[in-house]
Symmetry: C2
Subunit: 338 residues, 2 copies
DNA sequence: TTGTAAGCGTTATCAG
DNA sequence: CTGATAACGCTTACAA
């Protein structure tokens, strides 16, 4: 419980605290001799500056807030790894929060962060988030906030996404080309942009084909796995079941896999399946799962670079209002082939 | 960029800052009328207290540091979710760091945290960590540090593990019972305790059987996936290959799956496989993978509860020097059955 | 080149 | 019940 602070070092060295501070910060106005002495003692006593005193003084916390809707998901884990890779080079720290796809939780987290605990926020909104009032608050406080994947489309800031429309379109075309005539689309929520864009791609692909289309083919899923399971089974059992499924998020595809197995249908013979997913072992599944995988790590890196450029450079680089698209990759595997 | 602080509120209300502070903290020595007025304005102006000023004053940050060796791993993600579930009830925040299985990185992270940025640390050490000098520093500073899964055995603190020995033993017995005569053990590192304990269980199971045993059956793996792949193939191709594999960590099992597929061997006919893993979709693999899965979420919760009890209670509950074991579950699936 | 003093936003202590 | 003041540890004008 030692409290080695600048004052203590100053006493030991018989210098003024300010001198010690300057020496530690390698100020040009301190002699090399003094610097050496200070550094030596600091090292010996393992002095660590109090970050909160610094933050209070500088109005900077060297901390970034990261908010994700789900932690047990490779995509988000990879993004955070990407963010951390960059931020730690600048000595920044990461406060990470899981909103659990819950807007109320999200609002609570945001309100914590409003007090200046973080210098910036990078987030993916929950699937329930429709209003962005709480997010605008953040900007009003002058805290930069940027989005990735699940973006708040109308907010004037930089948003990173992948080519959701194109990917949804390509995946659907791929299913059609492989003989699917009745393709369902699994949607987590209409609120979130990625859902909308991926859906739009799907719809356009269907419309551009000779397939009919029915509203019911777009399946609104819930957050509850069991409910989804019942829902899926309910449309898998009847004779007029789908022969293709495009899932907009990994979680739903997993449930679909299970539902299909339970109904004794076969992938890909009876039903072909594609999902957006960043899982590492899609090729080990039975059958190997066709995925649209996002450049998660790179998204994280770019988010962080943008923020670091804005926060740490002397000539501050502004955060523009724009959407940056980093393309996904359609990895074709057996689950979608004849 | 408004700076709504206590002083500002005090001016507006024509009160002293200390009164405002007390009112906001619902002090008993403030009249209800005053409280109401203060609260009202605070709400109206969306006042948020500056956490750093508070931390500086109170020598408490309401922040916990979490260090894990790997982020893209369900086990660690689940543990963090468990930690967060508890800590957020107490208004605590989580700084999360990934050591990437690198001791040097781990040391760097620890040194950041030494300045009082966090009130406590909960961590799983990297597979390279043999010396615990840097970890002892933390304790010397009076910062509580507890461990889970990859523990620093000799440090006087609470460590959460699962029944690694028993699980290793049971899994090996299960393989033997199912006809394996030559079982390899995949080890990430001899340094880490879980490796040692799981290995000890394996060894005792072999010794207690009529099987011979050779040193070479314990495979020292590296951090590099490609190297491991080559290594695995090198012992899979020969005629005297193993007919069973027990992997002490998920990552190695995945590589083994790939290696086995590439060598055209069949699981479980040619080789049976079991791994420690918390993946959600083990049953969707081809073949479904037998796993020893840990109560990750519960481990996280217990870690957090221990810390919260120590940090937030008026009669501080000490962190004892002991090991708490929460049992894992052997989930038998096709990969290990005849 | 070094020392003095003020202040970042809060809260605890002491007075009134 | 409320107000003035000091202090947490650090940095930065300003002074020497």
């Amino acid at each position: 419980m030692t409290k080695i602070n600048i004052k203590y070092l100053a006493e030991k060295l018989k210098m003024a605290p300010s001198t010690v501070s300057r020496a530690l910060n390698d100020s040009y106005e301190i002699s090399e001799a003094t610097k050496a002495k200070v550094m030596a003692l600091a090292k010996e006593l393992n002095y660590q500056p109090n970050p909160y005193a610094r933050s209070l003084r500088a109005h900077k916390s060297r901390t970034i807030g990261v908010i994700i809707p789900e932690r047990i998901n490779n995509f988000f884990a990879q993004v955070i790894d990407g963010i951390e890779e960059i931020t730690q080079q600048y000595g920044y720290h990461l406060l990470v929060y899981n909103s659990h796809e819950d807007v109320e939780q999200e609002k609570k987290i945001i309100s914590y962060l409003l007090g200046g605990r973080v210098d910036a926020i990078v987030m993916s909104v929950s699937s329930q988030t429709s209003s962005t009032e709480h997010l605008e608050q953040v900007q009003k406080q002058g805290i930069p906030i940027i989005f990735f994947d699940r973006i708040a489309q109308d907010m004037p800031t930089t948003k990173f996404i992948t080519n959701d429309y194109q990917s949804g379109f390509d995946a659907t075309r791929h299913l059609i080309k492989n003989g699917c005539r009745k393709i369902y689309f699994l949607l987590l929520s209409k609120e979130i942009t990625i859902g909308k864009e991926r859906l739009r791609g799907y719809l356009d692909a269907i419309k551009g084909s000779d397939l009919p289309f029915k509203e019911e083919w777009v399946i609104q899923c819930s957050q509850d796995e069991k409910q989804n399971m019942e829902l899926f089974k309910s449309f898998l059992y009847p004779m007029d079941r789908p022969d293709g499924i495009l899932s907009s998020v990994e979680k739903l595809a997993i449930t679909a896999y299970h539902a299909i197995k339970q109904t004794r249908l076969s992938i890909p013979k009876d039903i072909k399946l594609i999902t957006f997913s960043n899982m590492k072992i899609a090729d080990l599944l039975n059958p190997p799962l066709t995925t649209i995988s996002q450049p998660a790590h790179e998204i994280g890196r770019q988010c962080a670079k943008l923020l670091m450029n804005n926060l740490t450079k002397t000539k501050q680089i502004p955060i523009e209002d724009k959407v940056i698209t980093i393309p996904s990759v359609l990895q074709i595997r057996s689950s979608s082939e004849p």
